[in-house]
């Protein structure tokens, strides 16, 4: 398990550093190829998002100079970059990859986007041939772990932005938002963002009213909506199911009597007011009316904070899942590590057995088929008995930290080491194949 990872993220580096390291999508394949060609690196993958740039590698000896690659590739001085870098190896690297894919290392814990970004990075690395088995295994497992975290915890289930909470609330009132009308009162940035979210979830038409009519027209055009003169606000507001209001008025512009008028004209169909103005645009007594739902900025913020706290709690459960998965992955990788040694050992002893039989066959003369079978069974039995203890020891050692030492001892004892060194391939895995020839 010679995984090595280096990178920066939103916690370790400011934006100025992250943007210098950011790799555009178009340059990612070339960068991936360059990294694979770097000395000591067998496989490589690069994750580059607005919040992180990470190089994930599988190396020949577990200590490739990844910092050097970053310095050279991005033309950055060590003193500028190194304080912001983090580096993980082996088990820690596996844990980090699992945490990133499961969105536990994200700025907004539990957000779903990161998994898609990691998958894209994986696809890019795969397309340029930078993955050859070890990273494949790691990321396949990471995607499965991310799925498990999403299914078994509620880490990504609640909204953690004002706009998405507003959408969720609207859905709790209206069910589907398809065909629902939105009225923006006061053309502010925040209301535009909320409206954009609502439209993305299927809302139908949009109306905009602003004291400056030209601004209303401008915003309405951006949404393909309709601008309404501010003086017509009360006559047309009942056409909307959702009202987003954010004017700079010093007093409430929607009062109880307006709510009663709207409900009467709408035959009591519910209305949802999202009041993001300070001071508030909707009078508090409006919320007393049946069918009118008013959420001000504090209410929305409170929902967001509560969801963030919920996610934190769920993240603790997710960390426990990841810890267990890292152990499982490590055990599995170690088991795979000993398999080539076992196979070489079997091949090695089989070669000796065949050579010995051939050597004595001349002295014994012609054997009957029964005698051939008896010799075969006898020699195989001896070989199996000799191999039994080393194989059992290797298998049990694979689950423990001493695996590498045991593998090394077995190779030396049976002279597998020498053959391995004689083989031309540089990588460990290929070496094992070499011993079998």
């Amino acid at each position: 398990m010679r995984y090595q990872l280096i990178g920066v993220n939103h916690k370790s580096a400011p934006l100025e550093v992250r943007e210098r390291l950011a790799i555009p999508e178009s340059k990612l394949p070339d960068c991936c190829r360059d990294l694979t060609a770097h000395p000591g690196i067998e496989e490589a993958m690069i994750i580059s998002t607005c919040n992180r740039v990470e190089l994930v590698t599988h190396t020949t000896n577990g200590s490739a100079d990844l910092r050097g690659f970053l310095h050279d590739h991005f033309h950055l001085k060590a003193e500028d970059l190194d304080p912001h870098l983090y580096e993980f190896r082996e088990k820690d690297a596996v844990r980090h990859v699992f945490r990133v894919a499961s969105s536990l290392d994200s700025m907004v814990v539990g957000e779903a986007q990161i998994l898609g970004q990691v998958k894209e990075a994986y696809a890019t690395a795969r397309a340029v041939g930078a993955l050859r088995g070890q990273l494949d295994q790691l990321f396949s497992r990471a995607f499965a772990v991310a799925k498990r975290v999403r299914t078994e915890t509620a880490v990504g289930s609640s909204s953690v932005s004002i706009a998405s909470v507003a959408v969720e609330l609207a859905k709790k009132i209206f069910g589907s938002l398809h065909g629902k009308n939105v009225f923006i009162v006061g053309a502010g940035k925040m209301s535009e963002l909320a409206a954009r979210h609502l439209m993305a979830h299927g809302c139908g038409s949009i109306f905009v009213a602003n004291r400056t009519y030209d601004r209303a027209i401008g915003l309405a055009q951006r949404f393909n909506g309709q601008a309404i003169k501010f003086e017509d606000l009360y006559n047309s507001c009942d056409r909307a199911d959702i009202v987003i209001t954010s004017t700079g008025a010093p007093h409430a512009i929607f009062r109880r009597e307006h709510g009663e008028q709207f409900l009467s004209r709408r035959k009591n169909r519910p209305m949802f007011f999202i009041d993001i103005a300070v001071p508030r645009d909707v009078a508090a007594e409006m919320a007393d009316l049946d069918g009118i739902f008013v959420y001000d900025i504090d209410d929305l913020q409170q929902a967001v904070s509560s969801h963030v706290a919920d996610r934190r709690k769920e993240a603790e459960r997710a960390e426990a899942i990841i810890a267990a998965e890292v152990e499982k992955f490590e055990a599995r990788t170690h088991t795979l590590d000993v398999v080539p040694t076992i196979v070489s050992l079997q091949d090695h002893l089989e070669t000796i057995r065949q050579a010995e039989i051939d050597r004595v066959r001349g002295r014994m003369g012609a054997l009957t088929p029964e005698q051939e079978m008896a010799v075969e069974a006898l020699t195989r039995g001896i070989i199996n008995k000799v191999m039994h203890t080393p194989i059992t020891t290797l298998k049990s050692a694979a689950r423990e930290s001493e695996a590498t030492t045991v593998i090394d001892v077995v190779r030396r004892l049976f002279n597998l080491q020498l053959k391995q060194q004689a083989a031309p391939q540089p990588s460990g895995k290929k070496d094992e194949v070499g011993t079998r020839q």
Partner: protein, 269 residues
């Protein structure tokens, strides 16, 4: 045997009953699925019980608590239709306890009452029973939906973050369930009263409007009609709709209870 099947159904509905109380406190997708499967299995047993009862011929002779059993089954059928359309088990909060109660009454206390005077009007009588009970079932569901609407409205108005993860469907979905049930139930109830009148006229030669059962049934129908009209005309929702639904259901229960005071409708020999 019908009683045995009914008791199996009762055991299944009990799971639904537990779910109804559980669902008010917290959401559980797993429990909701278990309750749904238990209710489906309960319906199978219930159906077998009703079919056996029908085949045995008792259904015409014994109105006693078989009426409750049939009403329970029809209410559950409505619940399943709503589940098929809206994919929500939340009306179960009201429907499951109601059905459990009806099935319980039918399963523990069977006292057949003879209907000797109506042997010759089987068809009209069956039509009357099924139509009226379907109307009742729709009314119960509409009442349940109006309660759920109130509950969901309160949650949303209370602005608790938990309101976003509540088990209840969207307010408009609950409203649709209630309104559609109401609209569907009304013609059944109307036709049920008409067929009942036909049965009464053919048996007694006239409809006795002084009989408490008939009087209260007409009163219930009028209240039902007012409810449909106000809902259609002014779109009453929330508290006002819940009050009106409660009045209609109380009227229906009173009309139902009148069976025990009316000598005509009780069909005693």
């Amino acid at each position: 045997m019908p009683l045995l099947w009914l008791r199996f159904a009762l055991a299944c509905y009990f799971i639904g009953l537990v779910y109804a109380f559980f669902a008010l406190r917290r959401t559980s997708e797993l429990f909701s699925r278990i309750a749904l499967h238990a209710a489906s299995l309960g319906m199978v047993f219930h159906f077998v019980s009703l079919v056996e009862l029908f085949l045995s011929g008792q259904v015409l002779w014994a109105l006693g608590h078989n009426g409750e059993s049939l009403l329970g089954f029809l209410s559950m059928t409505f619940f399943m239709i709503i589940y098929a359309i809206y994919k929500t088990t939340s009306p179960g909060v009201v429907v499951f306890p109601f059905v459990f109660f009806l099935t319980f009454v039918a399963a523990v206390d069977q006292q057949p009452v003879l209907l000797t005077s109506f042997v010759k009007h089987k068809g009209w009588l069956i039509a009357h029973i099924i139509l009226i009970f379907t109307g009742y079932a729709a009314l119960v569901l509409s009442f349940g939906a109006s309660l759920l609407y109130l509950l969901q409205e309160r949650r949303l108005k209370a602005k608790k973050p938990s309101s976003l993860i509540s088990f209840l469907p969207a307010l408009e979905t609950i409203d649709q369930i209630g309104y559609r049930s109401l609209l569907l139930g009304f013609p059944f109830m109307t036709l049920g009263l008409i067929t009942g009148s036909i049965v009464a006229i053919s048996a007694y030669g006239h409809v006795d409007f002084k009989d408490p059962k008939i009087l209260l049934s007409i009163l219930m129908w009028v209240v039902y009609m007012i409810m449909v009209f106000t809902r259609w005309n002014s779109g009453w929702r929330g508290r006002r709709a819940a009050v009106l639904a409660t009045v209609t259901v109380v009227a229906a229960i009173v009309a139902w209870a009148a069976n025990y005071f009316s000598t005509i409708h009780r069909f005693a020999s």
